[in-house]
Amino acid sequence: MNTKNKIKHTAEDLGVKKVYLESGIEVNPIYTAEDVENSNSKHEMPGEYPFTRGIHNTMYRKRPFTIRQYAGFASPEETNERFQFLIANGQSGLNVAFDLPTQCGLDSDDPKAMGEVGRVGMTVDTLDDFEIAFKNIDLDKITVSLTINGSAIIAIAMYIAMAEKAGYDISKLRGTAQNDILKEFIGRGTWIFPVDKSVKLVVDTIEYCAQHVPKYSPVSVCGYHIRESGANPIQEMAYAFCIAKAYTDGALSRRIDIDDFASRLSFNFDIYGNLFEQIAKFRGGRRLWAKIIREEYLAKNDDSCWLRMIAGGGGGGLTKEQPENNIVRSAYYALISALSGTQTMALCSYDEAYTIPTEHSAEISLRTMQIMIHEMGICDTVDPLGGSYYVEALTDKFEEEIKKEMKTVDKWGGIVNAVATGKIQESVSKQAYIREMGMQTGKVDKVGVNIFTREEESKPVEFHPYNQEAADKQVEKLKRIKASRNNELVKQKLETIRKDAKEDKNLMPSIIEAVKEYATVGEIVQVMKDVYGEFEEPIFF
């Protein structure tokens, strides 16, 4: 871009105020062919390495992105009902939310679980709960995503055990688990074990799936929560890629071929803020990831290089003020996601800034995406913004900046170390403070919050009240199961897990065996804590 000054197109040239993206990148009022003169983008094609323009050449023309809203309610019975409702309404994937005790590895009868059983998602104590939740749901037709991390290895084991018992061929079983523990230490916070052991467990699931459940995607690396915790779009991508590399390195150390693993890896990213910045983030990120996998890891297959993603409208952009505005924001987020070539989409509902979505608000989100697919022509042409001077120039810039930020993490001793010492948490939390203060002091415009505000009566919000009765029922059921199962056998299976943990073996086989005998989440986690210890949170803010 050495010819940049020939044409008047910068803010200075044109005498207008300078504009910076949230990532700190300055954008010009006008972009021209000169800005992409040295860019490789001219020769790029969708479906061809490095996949900047999309991982498939036909994209949505062949099949629109999967719609997969996050759902999960209290008891496994209610969850099953909700799933049936979503499937009847045309949803092609299910995203399961779990309650906090399950995510933190506690049983419903644990004193620490009191008041939390079934509150933010489905409760799981034993395999029985999975069997109820997925009753009459055809696992061949619906893809299920398990949103769980700290205790993910147990949830995946239960999903596999349930499918096996129901007669499915697990070598053909599809599905996804979030299972990205490194980001839990940065945001979201459902860690259990020390960082190194936590990563080891993720690698266990990768290894097991590569060998036995090859169509299953055991990890979805989440930039989403890192961004929700305060990271800017560059950091979101950079930290997620560093995390993905950590799991990849772990898989390779178990002698898994890069081409057997990389194609099962998927990503979860956040969308809010500047439209073009997000699109460039995804296009530049997709190119960089492909290069990392091919040039650093020497993957041969093209599909190993794909940045497969769920990109959804994030809660971070939504406001409690004038909540109906969130419907409009979410429609833009959906548009960004589609223009960025996502594989799967989920939108936060308009009331999600302050509560669990109601059936009504969840339906609006679903319709938002359906209107875009069926009325807006979004599926007709692949990468419709490809070739735009601005978008291509910004895409190149993002590729470069994400790479730079990844080098910073290397300087911190790599992602595992940076997380264990709290370095990343500190950097993200500082950003969150700057962003929040920018909004609260009016430096950053937010409609309904610091501009175009109006006095609002605090409307009563439709909340999901805590269902103590359901929680009590769950505890009673757990008691019944503990009384009726073969406790001698359960004890044996738990001891096998302990032995395997001590010998640093892959825990998947022994956990699958234990859940089949109805060992509880809490029992299994306790055995693992005995051997691995627990994470001690470094206090950084």
């Binding site: 906090l100 620490k112 008041g115 939390e116 945001g187 979201r188 403070y433 929040e436 609260q440």
Partner: protein, 139 residues
């Protein structure tokens, strides 16, 4: 003045509490943060050990009423009078309920950092009143 910011229960949302920590430090307060997933008993013990002037509870999972009741219980049991506050995802309609349970104040969802800071500043220990934290109940 020393403030203990805490995360009781299993809720892992810590962006807000950390933003507030930064805001309080910038305003000259001393802040002790508990980290995630503490029991009420652990939080109260940390408050005693660190000799803090106030305790803040940050709760976003919807468990605020339950945890506030537990807080009241433990504070009464230990005969402590340290003022405590609730913030996080608190629906406006629950503010009164929390204050009736025993919170000196509850800050509803979307409260600004500056509002919390100012509230704390205005309630700073006042030597003429024996140096105690003065809580203005706006009822």
């Amino acid at each position: 003045m020393k403030v203990l910011l805490s995360k009781p229960g299993l809720d892992g949302h810590d962006v807000g509490v950390k933003v507030l920590a930064h805001g309080l430090i910038d305003a000259g307060f001393e802040v002790v943060y508990t980290g995630l997933r503490k029991t009420i008993e652990e939080i109260v013990q940390m408050a005693i050990d660190n000799k803090v002037d106030v305790i803040g509870l940050s709760i976003l999972s919807g468990t605020h009423i339950f945890l506030a009741q537990k807080m009241k219980e433990v504070m009464d049991e230990k005969k402590l009078t340290i003022p405590w506050f609730v913030g996080g995802n608190v629906p406006p309609l629950d503010v009164e309920k929390l204050e009736a349970i025993g919170a000196s104040k509850a800050f509803p969802t979307s409260t600004k950092v500056v509002d919390v800071v100012n509230y704390f500043k205005e309630s700073l220990p006042n030597p003429s009143k024996g140096g105690a934290f003065v809580v203005e109940r706006n009822k």
